[in-house]
């Protein structure tokens, strides 16, 4: 273990914590008129942290400290980059939206910060309790964010639902953790792995299932997915975006560590993998099928993101460097694709005052850029070349086929082509409907930047994925020795 300085390694986390508090303070202190400045401030500070983290990714040292409580490997840093990027894009795209909330603008951003911090801790945690703390930090911030439109009944309903279900699920997760602790006497991944070894008591089964359920809830894995659509629909759109992208990615970061380091003992893997295969297949099928008849864009994206979780699971099933690499790669491009879609959704619903798909009619005329970005993002989610989604799926499914699961690949590809059906029906509305009488929707400023940026990234990675692929590969390598 190389020697290192905690300060340097933990800088991002510390910075985020500080920022959260500062923003909170500023939000309270400065007069409402001056709160316009909050968004740029947040954005730039996030950008700074992101920059540092990127640097850290390439030049940081692999470290394991506080008695293995906390890990600092490229895997963790990769995910931190991902969270920060997501947060940044959310903040950028949410500018206009948040303008409408007269009060509590400061809290909004600081809550985003705390949530991000929670995710970063999850990614870095080398031990279950730490992971749990991060998870709760993230989740509780999200409870508030989801219910942020305090005078919108739907928003608060979503909040309540998320709270109850989230709390229940974390309780179950905790129960699992306690059992694991009871079985192995430790909460550190590595020691648990050695502790569990090959002996499989019903208790260890129970523990595993509870852990799986707790994390499966966060990544909205069927059958633990039921909460997602409601919450996504009710929450403020930027929050939905953040929820769909970052919290899922964070849960995946944990799942990969837990699954690959801990659950993956020989005697276990046979059943475990079959089970995961079945669940992943169910996730892809249900997610894509139920998305078809949706009429609300946010709900549609919710189901699509459930399906995406299914694709990501495939990478975990592969149980190989390639698989993890696939997950990392896909998670990253998933950020940009989804952010593009949500940025458009946010913008339109802000101008239109509704999330119905039919209100996108004639968007191609009313706001060509938005329409194009939406199309590109959706097609990337569907995995149509030359957009990034295709390469991502290719990594995932080639990995899983390499590990010998072909059925899941069939299901995955066929379902992603089915998904094209409902993505295209959105595209159809945007391009075919003339949308008479509906006003043009100008796009500018940070939102425009977000849209163009996400689209360009999606396209660029799709055409020339090598850099990102190398990053993902490095991260995957760092995880699996």
């Amino acid at each position: 273990m190389v020697d290192f300085n905690i300060a340097t390694v933990l800088t991002p986390e510390i910075a985020m914590a500080a920022l959260a508090l500062i923003l909170l303070a500023i939000g309270l202190l400065i007069p409402p008129g001056a709160r316009k400045g909050m968004m740029p401030l947040t954005a730039f500070s996030l950008l700074g942290v992101l920059g540092y983290t990127l640097f850290d990714f390439f030049h940081g040292t692999k470290a394991l400290f506080l008695d293995g409580l906390y890990l600092h490997d490229q895997f963790a840093v990769y995910f931190k980059v991902l969270f920060l990027a997501a947060a940044l894009l959310v903040v950028l795209s949410s500018g206009g939206y948040v303008q409408k909330l007269a009060e509590h603008r400061g809290e909004f951003y600081s809550l985003i910060m705390t949530a991000t911090l929670g995710m970063m801790i999850m990614a870095g945690a080398g031990e279950l309790i730490t992971m749990y703390i991060g998870l709760e930090l993230m989740t509780i911030s999200f409870y508030i964010l989801v219910a942020y439109l305090s005078d919108d009944a739907r928003s608060s309903e979503a909040g309540i639902k998320y709270l109850v279900l989230g709390a229940t699920s974390s309780a179950i997760l905790l129960y699992g953790i306690s059992l694991v602790y009871g079985l192995t006497g430790s909460t550190q991944y590595t020691e648990i792995a050695s502790g569990l070894g090959a002996n499989l008591s019903p208790a260890s089964f129970l523990a595993t299932v509870f852990l799986l359920a707790g994390l499966g809830f966060k990544i909205s894995l069927v059958p633990f997915h039921l909460w997602a659509p409601d919450i996504y629909e009710g929450a403020p759109t930027p929050v939905t975006a953040f929820l769909a992208i970052a919290s899922k990615a964070a849960a995946f970061a944990v799942l990969i560590r837990v699954y690959l380091l801990m659950m993956n003992s020989q005697a276990f893997s046979g059943t475990g993998q079959t089970l995961l295969v079945v669940l992943a297949a169910l996730t892809m099928i249900l997610g894509n099928l139920i998305a078809i008849p949706q009429t609300n864009i946010k709900r549609l994206l919710a189901y699509s993101s459930i399906a995406q979780a299914g694709y990501l699971m495939v990478g975990i099933i592969a149980e190989s460097v390639a698989g993890v690499k696939g997950v990392l790669f896909y998670a990253m491009i998933y950020v940009f694709a989804n952010m593009g879609a949500f940025a458009v959704a946010t913008h339109v619903s802000e101008k239109q005052g509704s999330d119905q798909i039919k209100d996108f009619a004639g968007l191609a005329r009313r706001s060509p850029l938005a329409a194009v970005v939406m199309t590109a993002s959706l097609l990337s989610l569907a995995g149509i070349p030359p957009l990034a989604g295709f390469v991502g799926k290719f990594y995932l499914f080639s990995a899983v086929m390499d590990s010998g699961y072909t059925a899941i690949a069939y299901i995955g590809f066929v379902m992603s082509m089915v998904s094209v059906y409902y993505y295209l029906s959105v595209v159809k509305v945007m391009f075919l409907g003339e949308g008479e009488g509906l006003p043009d929707i100008p796009v500018h400023g940070a939102v425009k930047f977000t849209m163009v940026f996400t689209m360009l990234i999606t396209l660029a990675i799709g055409i020339y994925p090598t850099p990102l692929a190398q990053m993902a590969a490095a991260a995957a390598q760092s995880l699996i020795k």
Partner: protein, 114 residues
């Protein structure tokens, strides 16, 4: 007579924990009042705490040097803190939704569906 028969062992604690957990779960399923549901959740979390402490006390109470390893106890403390935060937020949300819907009956919170 042997007092050790009367001693309350790990299994007892685990049983209590499990019962608490199940009661809490039942509450979450069955209660109609949102406040009650929050309380049930508290029960579940506390069940977890009992597990932690019991495990630490009965199974993994080794020492390293002179001091005990208190992972379980610490975990319990963390959980308590988190639970407190959760409930705080929860109650705040209850107030909000009550303002919006004039009700705390979860059956009525079904605007978002399908």
């Amino acid at each position: 007579m042997n007092l050790s028969n009367l001693s309350v062992g790990l299994s007892t604690y685990l049983l209590v924990g499990a019962m608490l957990f199940s009661i809490g779960l039942y509450g979450v399923f069955a209660k109609r009042n949102i406040i009650a549901i929050l309380m049930s959740i508290e029960l579940m979390l506390n069940a977890v705490n009992i597990n932690f402490v019991a495990f630490n006390r009965f199974v993994w109470n080794q020492k390293s040097g002179t001091n005990y390893i208190l992972t379980g106890h610490v975990a319990a403390l963390f959980v308590i803190v988190v639970a407190a935060a959760e409930v705080a937020v929860g109650l705040a949300l209850v107030i909000t939704i009550y303002r919006n819907r004039q009700s705390t009956n979860v059956d009525e919170f079904n605007w978002l569906k399908w």
